[in-house]
Amino acid sequence: MTQPAIVELRDVTKRYHDKTILDAVSIAIRPGEITAMIGPSGGGKSTLLRSINGLNTIDGGEVIVGENRITQNATQSNDAARRIRRTVGMVFQDFQLFPHLTALGNVCEAPIRVAGKSRREAESRGRELLKQVGLGERFDHYPSQLSGGQKQRVAIARALAMDPQVLLCDEITCALDPELKHEVLDVLEDLRREGLTLIMVTHEIGFARRAADRVVVLAGGKIVEDGPPAQVLDAPQTERTQRFLQNVLG
């Protein structure tokens, strides 16, 4: 692979008090790659993900996205992090839709306030995105009037409205009823076809196997396994991965 990385972490370290959450983690993500991060709770998956767009500060190493880099002295709202967030979108486990805005309002807020688009332009694109995630009839609904799956699809449309190159998904199906998960996962599969770079923390082993190009296993703050799904999920090399998969798959 000669293509340069779109997201690169070099020796990223993160500590909470005395506990090391990320222990000098390095990884490079190529454009268009679908990466699934799996691993036991507390293994550092979410922390790694949130380090990429600066929602977590880091205590060592650096995060490089395009021309921007976050180092250990950066705050959550520093300029480099803000520039990174213009190309890296994020979807959260608990949606975090803005409750005081309608579905369309949620999608249009950042394009208007951050990207400086006109309301008309933002709304026309916002409607398109909501249709794309299957919510063509829900423009004027407030988050409280939507189901969990619908909320999460609004959240994805909201992130896509900023035309990101990379989308970070933090356990986005975790809070959903099983029969609603497919609504969201179907949307992700569509995005994959469009060539978006996806980095997702997930417990959906089945989905990872089907959709991911690459599976990364994080445990104890380190990457213990990294490779194509067939290799990592079906023929794990390390004892830690084997144990984890046994626990998850039963």
């Binding site: 929602l55 992090a81 803000r82 967030r85 959260f92 803005f98 407030y142 409280s144």
Partner: protein, 523 residues
Amino acid sequence: MKKFAPISLRFFVLVAILAVAPTAADLQGDSPRVVRLRDRLASNVLRWGGDAEGGAPFQFHDPEQPDKLVGFEVDLVDALVEQLRSQLDLPQLHAEFVQYDWVSLPLGLEKQDFDLIVSGLEITDENRAKLIFSRPYYVYSLALTVRADETRVKSVEDCLKLRVGTLSGSAAQTYLQELGVEQITAPDGQIESYQDLALGRVDAVLLDLPIAIYNTADDPRFKFVGPRVGQGHYGLGLRPTDDDLAAAIDEALSELIRTGRIRQIYAKWKMWNEDQLQLASGDRPAEAAGLRGATEATVVTTNREAWTFSRYAPPLFAAAGVTVALTFVSMALAMLIGLIVAVCRLYGPGPIRWLALAYVEFFRGIPLLLLLTFLYYGLPHVPYMGVDLAAWQAAIIGFGLNYAAFEAEIYRSSIQSVPRGQWEAARSLGMDDMTAFRRVIFPQAFRTALGPMTNDFVAMFKDTSLVSVIAVVELTKQYQILARTSLKFTEIGLLTAALYLAMSIPLGYLARYLEENWNFGHK
């Protein structure tokens, strides 16, 4: 009369000067005093301060025309102004009344809220320390009033062990204290003691004769006993720096006495008696002649029953308007300052955060009454940074600053109740912190803050009644003025309460409506 000697002396000197000076008509622009005074009164307004709250027969609202002031002092001021017009050749000169708490009148004079106190102010050493007096315009004495069936009291000396009512800050109060009366009650108004007497809360009332006559004459529940005591004089109060005006007013008073006008006014208000002959200056026989001359004044009759609903309701409604305006503007200011303080306290750098906390603790911890009094009476005296605020400005700033401390705390807890994930979601979309706060955090926090803030809003409606201490007439003050003038405490009180409820209850419903319906789709 002994106490009065300095005034007589001063007056004697003045009379001596005036005697050799040309008459007013010849002065036209020649006398430096007249020139200065014409300059001083260039606005053509002579403002006089008094207290119309239960102020009969001195000054009170006319039941026939509630927005009009009547009383013997109103007539006196009109006559004085008429005299000054020709004396100073200022044909446009007119008087303007400023309502003030009686006990605060010297403060208002010093603050230049008016030029002249005309409010039955007794010429005493204590008052003379704060202001200068005109020559006396009325000779009062103190009358002792008891219930009609009272048998114990023959004179004020019989009251040493009894409960005696009077007026706070009056010469009668001083007289009772010096006599050694043990149980004196001295409310801030002059009709309360008579109410107390009728109800048996006090056994006797000692007050100035004009007040006693007005409040008890023809009332079968009361009688006067004993000789009148403690004779003294009412004078017009002026600022010590205003001696030109004082001299002109003395001259005008002299004319009113000489022409018999003053006797006419007192006769009209049933206040004339032989004591008033002392008003004449010994050096001016013409004045004595004026006081002795025949008078054809029509005696006024005031009828408290004339205070019907259609007469007292309009001034009450107008005062309710003041309350509403004051509350809305003050609350808007409090919500603005409160937001700034809350944001400083949550997100400011160390020292700013500390200052914001200090602000909250300070303004939450001091009584509103203290703050208002300081802003109005104290602030002008602060060295280098003294500001002389108008009463309504002081009121709005006082309420704004005080309530801002409470609103800041409401904002703070509301802002903190917005989940942290909302910040992260906003930031992950590329918003800077300012945009995230304005567009995402604050709208949600404000919705949460709405309920508690409405409570404060309703509380402020009632708290605004405190501003009467700084001479703003709002609903409660207007109630007191009207009730004390008409003695219809219950009737007017019920209307006043209804007005407060009419303002606060809809607000409560509005808040509930907003909470239920401005709820981002929640059912």
